[in-house]
Amino acid sequence: MAEIATQVEQEKEPLFGKKERKLLIDPINDNNPITVQVLGICSALAVTTLVDKAFVMAIAVTFVTAFSNLAVSFLRKGMPKQIRMIVQLVVVAFLVTVVELVLKAANYPIWKELSVYIGLIITNCIVMGRLEAYAMANKPWRSFLDGVGNGLGYGVILIMVAAVREIFGKGSLAGFKIIGNTPEYLIDSTQNAFFSWYMPNNLMVIPASALFVIGIIIWVQRSKNTKLVDVS
């Protein structure tokens, strides 16, 4: 009797069971697309000067990974093998175009700031990486969750890097002044926040600093989890 019960359960495939939760949670830490799978670094660096830019980018990427995984998983059986890659890329490019059009209507200044980096989501290796590694071999719902998980894992690192860069580079967080002088420090030094002696550090504003921050995040993550250490 017990055997039959488990069989029924397996056939039902719960909408949100243990496996599904693992799909969502794993990429956020132990199988993070940026720090462990080394995917999608390109655009991660250019948009992490300010938290709100990183946040918009994280949402855009999550949307694209989730829905491209879903679409490709639906299409996987009828997809002609000769042009598999082109079909996948067209699906991704289509979704990215939708994101761009919607963002341009919803928040024009951010669209303008992100400029070519929205388009570059197409070649963000996370998207193609997950399509090949997961969506081509799994059912739509699970693929969708895998996409959401990986998008979020990417977003978490993106926002962490942006937070560090914005606090130390501009003294603010998501536009709110936290430490150091106001940007008007040359005109008016009376409007101080905490630690008014702190001068914003320009090193944190240049793109190279994103690499240092990610390098350090990897260092911390790997000293905690020695399984991830690179032996080569």
Binding site: P80, K81, F94, A105, K112, V205
Partner: protein, 236 residues
Amino acid sequence: MHSNNYVTIYTVIMTLIVSVVLAVIVSGLKPIHDDNEAVFKKREIFQAVKDYLGADLDKMSDKEVLALFDKNMQQVVIDANGKPVEGVKAENIDMAKEEKKPIADRQYPVFTFVGEKGTYYLVSIRGNGLWDKIWSTIAFQDDFNTIAGVSFGHAAETPGLGAEITDNPSFPKQFQGKTIQDDGQYVSVAVVKGGIKKPSHQVDAITGATITSNGVTEMLERGLKVYLPYFESLKK
């Protein structure tokens, strides 16, 4: 392996679906995109006279910006000789496109802002920074000589260095009250390093951003000259 026919049909159907869906989305969102672009551009122009608007520009809603622009902003387009051109709106002039034309064919926008405290004449100029283009809107008082306010924009200057022309409000602020003429002679305004010698025609450069600062000087010198004949004609 699928047959070639299958691949062809698959490709055609996919292309059709994708283009039709995108075309529908674009036609739905196009009006919003155009509105957003207009608001963005008008905010950028207002930035040069933001101290005279009677309200905080950053807190104004898009509707208020458009309404104020319609009500208090007059616009004229002039040609390379400073003569007004009929049938063109200044807000539709794209300086990036004008720059690619031969000098004699270029057109330039002039906006007149009628504020509570006075009338201001706004002109657009464009030049080169370190990495890419920089541009600026300059507002003059009605003597056509004294600068009332300045705003800058840039495509890709270095954050923390050249990008301070927009990020650090104290840089544009320095220009207020500077004059571009000396006894009727055109001298422009220069961005200089290591101490100002002529206080009415010079402002302090940004530390570490020599090339952007030189670019601003060059842009002002070359860009403002174009508008002088028109200003002369207004004085009469």
